[in-house]
């Protein structure tokens, strides 16, 4: 990187401008990544934190996908699943959205109704009780021992535990006996949370008219998550693609501008490999500096933003997008390097023809 590093110092203005572009794109991508993860967590944390490895849904119609909104598993199917060999645990879970009230304060909650013996809630819940997520308790201004109305049923707050939410609403764990009316049979579940041992899931699904997926695969069955996450990921992907194109365009122009110098270096004995390594090194330094600064700024802003909006600050939302930008930037820069190979050293002589 003999020439590359000196070029970086010499053409400060040009590289500072490009570095600023990389910094701003990194800032955008990291902030978007943190927001995407934050919004995603508000959508799915109650599901991902379930003590289960698979969820059983009612099999959808041929042209439909599984959905938490549409799935109804009757009592008989629940019993049949409990008898399937090789399944370690079967926990029926009925869930939906409802309103919770405490005095004059109200908030939307996701009710997760389970059997009294269920191990799914953070704290065991009995009939007449509710276990509220911290956000719900805060919104309602209640603590353990207080009283709230969930879906028209008055319940005592047994505990305030966890920060799980579902579809952007904090979770209220209630007994199946207290669940609000949802239009389905009182003993029907939305899904079955299971822990699989050696069970033949495909055979069980075929026999019982269900569809079993891993917890991770079940997330797309949350309607708001799949559409919201899809849009944000698309924006993130487009930003990454734009950054690769912008960096590629910059280095293409830069390479064209320094073609005479490349010709001189080739004429005096620089190999194409040497020049390519030099140019890639230059791009790497620029990207490392730009993304480093952008990621640091985004981490600082994200830490502030996390107090008011859902935002996840961590290696996956800061370091991973920054690393991805470096890689894609190098790919963009590499596309411009083809020109280095085509520069004819003869042009350094100028008057040869």
């Amino acid at each position: 990187m003999f020439v590359a590093l000196r070029d970086l110092k010499f053409a400060k203005g040009r590289f500072a401008l490009m570095g600023t572009v990389v910094t701003l794109i990194t800032l955008l991508v990291v902030l978007l990544s943190g927001l995407t993860a934050g919004l995603g967590r508000e959508n799915i944390s109650a599901i991902t934190d379930l003590d289960a490895d698979h969820l059983v849904f009612a099999a959808p119609a041929a042209d439909q996908d599984i959905s938490f909104s549409d799935s109804v598993i009757p009592a008989q199917t629940q019993a049949d699943w409990a008898d399937v060999a090789g399944v370690a645990a079967v926990e029926p879970l009925a869930l939906g959205m409802t309103r919770a009230e405490s005095g004059a304060r109200t908030t939307g909650v996701a009710f997760f109704a389970v059997d009294e013996a269920s191990a799914l809630p953070p704290v065991a819940v009995r009939s007449g009780e509710v276990v509220l997520a911290e956000q719900a308790a805060e919104d309602l201004g209640v603590a353990a021992g207080g009283t709230v109305t969930v879906g028209g049923v008055e319940l005592e707050v047994a505990a305030v535990a966890g920060s799980d939410s579902y579809s952007h609403a904090p979770v209220a764990w209630i007994s199946d006996a207290d669940r609000p009316m949802t239009g389905t049979a009182p003993d029907a579940a939305t899904v079955l949370a299971i822990r699989v041992g050696t069970a033949d899931l495909a055979a069980a699904d075929a026999a019982l008219g269900t569809e079993t997926v891993t917890v991770a695969d079940s997330l797309n069955a949350i309607g708001s998550y799949s559409s919201e996450n899809g849009s944000l990921q698309l924006m993130r992907g487009l930003l990454l693609a734009i950054s690769a194109l912008v960096i590629g365009a910059f280095f293409t122009v830069w390479t064209v501008q320094r073609s005479p110098e490349i010709a001189i270096l080739k004429a005096v004995g620089a190999s194409t490999g040497y020049l390519v390594r030099d140019a890639v090194g230059q791009a790497f330094v620029l990207l490392l500096f730009g993304t480093g600064l952008g990621a640091a700024l985004a981490a600082g802003l994200g830490a502030v933003a996390a107090t008011v909006v859902p935002f996840v600050l961590g290696p996956a939302t800061v370091l991973l997008p920054a690393a991805l930008l470096v890689v894609l930037g190098l790919v963009g820069a590499a596309a411009s390097l083809r020109r280095i190979a085509t520069v004819d050293p003869l042009t350094a002589l100028g008057a040869a023809r």
Partner: protein, 226 residues
Amino acid sequence: MTMHLNDVTLTYPDGDGRLTALDHVTLHAEPGELTAVVGPSGSGKSSLLAVAATLITPDSGQVLLDGTDLVGLNRKQRTRVRRDRIGIVFQSANLLASLTALEQLTVMAHLAGEAPTAAGERALELLDAVGLGAQAGRRPHQLSGGQRQRVTIARGLMNEPSVLLVDEPTSALDSERGAAILDLLRRLTTERGLATVMVTHDRDHLAHADRVVEIVDGRAHALAPA
């Protein structure tokens, strides 16, 4: 080491036919001698230099550097020859804008994979030899035309080549500075035992040459030195 061009012919595409730039040209450059190649514009002087520098492969003939024919070498080998065995001084002082005078030389050593310390010392010695020791830290835009050309000469010598190819070294300089550059080339050729080939259109320069070759319409004729 010597450089011999034997019966070299070079043609370029020209419409439906081909234009002959060099027509069976033979030229010998011996160590410690300055060979001047003169001729009018478009006569083929620079083409001759490009062939000698392995930048163009001739249609036929040999380019022998100490007995090795450079014509058959592949691109990598030719690049290595230019880096290690041939120094090139361009018509305009083709320097890299971001490098200081010293770095214009040390980059040559870097290309050859040489340690920076030893290269730095040799580069300073060379800059001293061309009278620019005090300007080592200056970039091209901070140097005069004559100084830039001196840096180019020093760069051409950095990897201790046996052959120095010089293309119209004074074309961008006034007569006083041009004469100083020619004196420098003459001195370095003798002191370092270089086989120097200098292309020029100025016949006043022939007084500095040991051999003179005139090229007219691609054909070479030996002339007596002035």
